[in-house]
Amino acid sequence: MPKNVSIKKVLVIGSGPIVIGQAAEFDYSGAQACQALREDGIETVLVNSNPATIMTDKEVADKVYIEPMSIDYLEKIISKELPDSILAGMGGQTGLNLAVELNDKGILDKYNIKVIGTAIEAIKQGEDRESFRTLMQELGQPIIKSKIVDSIDAGVSFAKEIGYPVVVRPAYTLGGTGGGIAEDKEELKQILAGGLQLSRVGQVLLEKSIKGWKEIEYEVMRDSKGNCITVCNMENLDPVGVHTGDSIVIAPSQTLSDYEYHMLRKASLDIIDAIGIVGGCNVQLALNPESFEYAIIEINPRVSRSSALASKATGYPIAKVSAKLALGYALDEIENAVTKKTKACFEPTLDYCVIKIPKWPFDKFRRAKKTLGTKMMATGEVMAIGNTFEAALLKAVRSLEIGQYALYHKKASSRSLDELKRRVTIPDDERLFDLAELIRRNYRVDKICKITGMDAFYLNKIKGIVEQEEKLRESDLKDISRDWLYTLKQKGFSDRAIADFIQCSPMEIYHLRKAYHIETVFKMVDTCGGEFEAVSPYYYSTYDIYDEVDVSDNKKVMVIGSGPIRIGQGIEFDYCSVHSILALKKAGIETIIVNNNPETVSTDFNIADKLYFEPLTEEDVLNIIEKEKPEGVILQFGGQTAIKLAKFLQAMQVPILGTSPDKIDEAEDRERFDALMEKLNISRPKGKAVWSLEEGLIQANHLGYPVLVRPSYVLGGQGMEITYNKVELENYLIQAFERDQKNPVLIDRYLLGREIEVDAIYDGEDILIPGIMEHLERAGVHSGDSISIYPPVHISLEIKNNIYDITKRLASALSIKGMINIQYILYDHEIFIIEVNPRSSRTVPYLSKVTGVPMIELATRAILGERIKDMGYGVGIYKESEKVSVKVPVFSTQKLPEVEVSLGPEMKSTGEVLGVGRNFLEALFKGFVGSGMILPTKKGTILVMLKPADQKAFIPIAKQWIALGYTFAATEGTARVLIENNIEVKVVKKISEGVPNVLDLIRSGLVDLVINTPTKANDTTRDGFRIRRAAIEASVPILTSLDTANGLLDILSSGLDSHQTEVYCL
């Protein structure tokens, strides 16, 4: 029973698709909140458009709606479900904004719904810059000199008053989108133009720059009685100026004295008390490093990325407690789940150090402008726990999966001192390594502090690591004494790093460790610094005398997680890991999860029987295996991160459950796979692995252009391109071999056919295909970026049967145990295989939901030896659902300056939404709406620019658009073709033809849709690229594939609008 008995049915709003600034952390918070509500017997209704989440599982809430996150659809759900309350603060900024909008539009009043948790008025006071400033003045809390402006002129004149540099922050946007620091008037005008447009209320905040101040965050809680506590404070390694989501963050603060710590703590609590927060809140402050002067930067009156981090850093479940507080409980009425003795009003104390490092998408977007500033660019993050600062830092570095096991960085080492000095003052993703390199070259630490604003404490710690690295470089294996090795291990050095410096193999260090009896020990995360006995099964590794983890005699299985969220390996894999754990638990097996991502559900210590928060490297994982001695390890649910451990673990004689490492290799190794296809007589686009430019060109001539090229062993199509001629191919190959000489480049014939995707479960004899999916876009667009349709609408029964047959033969040949994912192309009535993944894929969560087949559970049971035919879902192709589901990708390109927008073989999307409908059109409509696309209004203007190959195909389509009342605008080339075909078009100047040109047209808001199929992607100087960027930055919908445009046309011709669509409970 809730404390407040009038609460019986609660609507929980999720955060929608994963975008930069809003990632898996809200799946974690939403899932926790639902669990907390249901514990109290409350009926929960959950809305989220993101199907890849745990929170949208049927088991999480009583009613789950995977529906667009818009007011229209929320009202439909509300009118159907009639909840008495709404919980707003769990779905990030999206959830909060929607709740405010529901309130402002009178919908909450209309249905008599109360807001539980922080009240709308309080949310507004915290979020609205002006009222927040007023409140701070009333409270006597210092703020940075600033002003809200709603025009460029007003901004420029205020900046003149306070002096440059000035910081621009738009109101109500995600992750600071549209903000920036302007050094001069010109830059200010540019940033203001974007920021004003992006802000939901057309306002931005201009403020005096406080560059160099320390950035400190407090995660605080308040109950409805006014009791306040701090869960955790955190210090950013990067001073004010870099978005906290892009900063390296340390918990707890290291350089604040007790007085400073409590001065800022008091400020934070005074603020949330005055605002009347009920639940969790994040307070960001800036502290002058030379005095007690501080300023409040902002607050987030909800759970956040930082609160997820703080929860994992301390063991205090902020979202869960927030949900309980919303039900009317006081902090002393909620039990601390970790100690079972203390209460939720106990402030956690840490006896270790936690470091978070963001994971940036620059490996995928090599041409992006990487400079970090007030706009967040990271897609995910890793967290590491150590009882030395050094160990936490080095663990976090190797968790990033960027090939770094130490601070020595090859690229940084090749930079000149001048360059390094310049680079450390303009932060990007490599700054940590640049700092280390600068210190390595004996540059003064105090001077680095001065030019970067970083605290000397951290730089001296980095210096300590660098000194050890250099000492190692001058040593041999025989120089490494027990004491030294022990010290190195305590400081977090990996075997691999030590080995690299002294030029031996990591195994030699491993054996030396064993010979010296240096064993990893594990400590508990217990919220209380050991003061009370804790029951939380949450551990981290260290090198010490005493290990405090008890190992049971139970049968146990370890599941390897998928690490940080990145493009190509997102929240879907966390979903899979979690479900595998749940299935194992159901089978009565003790479960162990290893992961390093603080945002996720898998690292909630309630999920597995034991959680090891550790890097997912060979050494770190092996240490846990040696400790726990599980019956086996499951790799196939943790994406490529887990799969790539297969060979090593097998070599170490660790039993791997599921498909064998040799067969995994057979599926991933190009030549072995080709041989297998040959043997099985399965077609695949002709192609070959080439090792040199010459070989590549010969091969391409042999296949015929265009050819699809990509490096082998990659994730999410990284570096994959379609090259149409010799010059393009040459450029590609030269660059590819420059980057990596050890691996070949794959060259395939490029088939423009229909892509089909299958996820299947195989037990060694029978196969279950829960669903066949078809892509709206033809081959050439990465499967993760395609609109995916289930059940397929264009595939005949015969083809389906063929696909079943091939899938089964392949699964059998690869001796699959568990999941397999296959991508096919249907070209000229023939089925070709493009890719096989001997693991779970990103479509599994959505397919599990729409088919009702618990795929991960079944796969896990198959791995454990059960037969599919005994599982109750039959074998073969599972019956198709009556409803149609369309998965639509969602992109964050708006947040990444100078990143290519157009779709291609390299994956770009960060998230996805699902549209569910009675038929394809309804589903697609809802998918588009859910993805945030503003559908062009009737009689709108469409700007078209097509590559020559597409122009002819567009003519019939164009006529349909015209018939619907749309008008076209185009630059010369495309316009000529349209005119020749008697289609009316307004000719627009190209960029080079003077003003007003096509860019001005887009920026002026006169274009409702851009259809642009690019001739050449990724070239920042070309018109097409600039036009696409302009469209994205002006929030004009842009389609870069004619297939997508056709889909949109189908919807518009049908005249469908949101009133005619329905909402469906899962």
Partner: protein
């Protein structure tokens, strides 16, 4: 220099000595505060104790001349996982190692402080020796047995009466080892203070005609403090208030009893419920003894409770202006949540 901590139950933790290296015996306790090591080192309530910090990185922001709670380091020894050799803070004036050297106190670093903390938590507070040499079993016993903290209060109390002028009420403070922050909190509120040594008599106090009497914090077992008899004489004659040891002494004087806690409350994250105002405060605490529940006379009511273990954190007399708290409303180290308790203390002494 290699050194070790030998606990009275025989457990040995090896580490390295720093600070002023000398063999030291003391009562080993732990503090869970993540900051505040300077305040802890100089807090007279720790007299005779060796303090383990549960947070592993200590000394990060250095030490200065402003944040001390008394004239010098009062702990017998400081035990940390890692001392910081490159402190960084704009007010940093000393490095931890040098500060301990200057104060002739030993430090021990590089040991598994979490394991030590858990040992104390499970086995209770113990005596221990920090030494750099090998000791025989009998040497260890001799050394441990030599330890006594019975005179702690006398050691840390002011030697002679001191007057601090002020415009507000006049408080007679009995100094059992008072923290600077408490004195400063009274000064900030305009009080006139007469600070007496712990050996003071009731008559001497009444002679200065104070508005109220304040019993300070301090080290050791309250039952070792003879001043209880003098306090008893003051009951009903003057308003009496107290913090920490002062609170325990007041309870004893009122006829209540005290007992030793297994491992004490030492940290800055202790939730306390104000039963009168139904409000939770996070408090700074440092006590090894506690007022025993159900031993208090009927005319004394409990005003504050620990939300961790339900022990008494504050009492008030129903008839007389008598009020005391177990926790440290003056913070330093710790949160300022209970700042208003200082106002309540002063209010209850208003004439």
């Amino acid at each position: 220099m290699k050194a070790k901590l030998i606990l009275e139950n025989g457990t040995i933790f090896e580490g390295n000595a720093f600070g002023y290296v000398k063999e030291t015996v003391g009562e080993v306790v732990f503090n869970t505060g993540m900051t505040g090591y300077q305040e802890i080192l100089t807090d007279p309530s720790y007299y005779g104790q060796m303090v383990t910090m549960t947070y592993p990185l200590i000394g990060n922001y250095g030490l200065n001349l402003d944040d001390s709670e008394s004239d010098k380091v009062k702990v017998r020894g400081l035990i940390v996982r890692e001392k910081c050799s490159f402190p960084s803070n704009w007010r940093c004036e000393f490095e931890l190692d040098d500060y301990l050297k200057e104060n002739r106190v030993i430090g021990l670093e590089g040991l598994d402080t979490r394991a030590l903390t858990k040992t104390i938590r499970n086995k209770g507070t113990m005596r221990g020796i920090i030494t750099v040499r090998d000791l025989t079993e009998s040497q260890i016993q001799l050394k441990l047995n030599s330890y006594t903290n019975k005179n702690a209060v006398r050691e840390v109390s002011i030697k002679e009466k001191k007057v601090i002028e002020g415009q507000g009420i006049h408080i007679a403070i009995i100094d059992f080892g008072i923290k600077n922050s408490i004195v400063n909190a009274f000064i900030k509120r305009g009080c006139k203070l007469t600070v007496f040594p712990a050996t003071v008599t009731a008559e001497e106090i009444l002679a200065v005609k104070p508005d109220g009497v304040f019993l300070s914090n301090g080290p050791g077992d309250p039952k070792d403090v003879e001043t209880i008899h003098e306090i008893r004489k003051l009951l009903g004659k003057k308003p009496i208030t107290g913090i920490c040891l002062g609170h325990q002494l007041l309870a004893l004087a009122l006829g209540g009893d005290t007992e030793k806690l297994k491992f004490g409350h030492r940290g800055t994250n202790h939730p306390v419920k104000d039963l009168v105002n139904d409000k939770i405060m996070i408090t700074s605490q440092n006590h090894g003894y506690v007022v025993k529940n159900s031993t208090l006379p009927e005319d004394v009511e409990i005003t504050h409770m620990s939300l961790n273990d339900d022990t008494i954190e504050g009492i008030r007399h129903k008839a007389y202006p008598i009020y005391s708290v177990q926790f440290h409303p003056e913070a330093c180290p710790g949160p300022f949540d209970a700042d208003t308790v200082l106002d309540e203390i002063i209010d209850s002494m208003q004439p």
